[in-house]
Point group: C2
C-alpha cells in the first residue's frame, strides 16, 4: 500500500479507494467514488467502498464529513471547507486559524479530538450565473 497502514490484510480495493481520495480535491460521496473506481475495476461493489471508507476513517487515514449525503476527505489535517448550496461543490478553504480554534476550546476544559468548520453559501461561478440569469439553482435549496 501507499503507506504502511497496518490493516489485517492488503486489498487492491482499499488501495484504490485511498489513493483516489488522496488525488481528488472534490471530497466525493461514497457513490461518486464508487462510480469512478468501477471504471477501472468493474467488479467493485458499493458495499466494499463503504466498508473501506469506514475502516480508513476508523484508522484515521481519511475524514468523513456529515452532509445529507456524506463526503470523504483524504486530507486529515484540519482545514475549513466551503459548501456551495447551489452546485453542491465542497471546496477546501485556507484560513490560518485551525490550531487556534482547538486551543480555545481545549482551554475551556474540553478534550477536543477534531473540529469541522464548514461555510455555506454560493460559490463564485454560481453567484455569477445567478446575477446574470435568474434563479439558477432554485431558491428552495437550503444551506
Amino acid at each position: 500500500m501507499v503507506t504502511n497502514m497496518k490493516f489485517k490484510r492488503y486489498s487492491k480495493q482499499r488501495e484504490a479507494i485511498y489513493r483516489a481520495l488522496q488525488e481528488r480535491r472534490d471530497h466525493p460521496t461514497a457513490e461518486t467514488l464508487y462510480l469512478s473506481l468501477k471504471q477501472a475495476q468493474p467488479t467493485l461493489s458499493l458495499a466494499t467502498v463503504y466498508r473501506n471508507l469506514n475502516q480508513l476513517e476508523h484508522s484515521g487515514h481519511i475524514l468523513r464529513l456529515s452532509f445529507d449525503v456524506d463526503r470523504y476527505d483524504g486530507n486529515v489535517a484540519p482545514h475549513p471547507h466551503f459548501f456551495c448550496t447551489c452546485c453542491r461543490n465542497l471546496a477546501d478553504l485556507n484560513l490560518p486559524i485551525n490550531d487556534t480554534l482547538d486551543e480555545m476550546v481545549s482551554k475551556m476544559g474540553y478534550h477536543v479530538a477534531r473540529h469541522d468548520l464548514i461555510f455555506r453559501g454560493t460559490c463564485f461561478s454560481c453567484a455569477k450565473r445567478e446575477s446574470a440569469q435568474t434563479d439558477v439553482c432554485g431558491s428552495s435549496r437550503l444551506p
Copy 2:
C-alpha cells in the same frame, strides 16, 4: 404563534415543535422531539414533525445540523457546538469569533450564508468516567 411567522396556515403542531426547540438546549433529533411532544399530543405523527422541521428550516426559524442523525437548533444566531463522541451530547459553545469567521471568508469573495463550527471530542463527564473506569463509551466510537 409565538412570533408572526407568516406560514400559510397556523397549526398547533408547528407551534409546539417551534416552542420546544426554543426551550430545549439539547439540539434534539426529530425523533427525540417527536417522542417528547407526543406525550402532550398523542396523535402527533413523526411525519408531521419532519414536515414542520423542514418548513421551519426553510423559513429560517431553526437550523438543521447534519450528523449521522440530524439535530435541530432553535437558535439561528451563529455559534459553535461541541459534540461528545462518547455520550453524543451536543452542546453550545461560547466563542466570540462567529462574525470574524464569516468576514474572513466573505473577504475572499465568497457569498457566505452561514457556517457550522463543530468541535468533537469528549465532554467533561465522559472524560471523568473514562479516566476513572475503563473504556466507558467504547473505543470504536468515532468523532
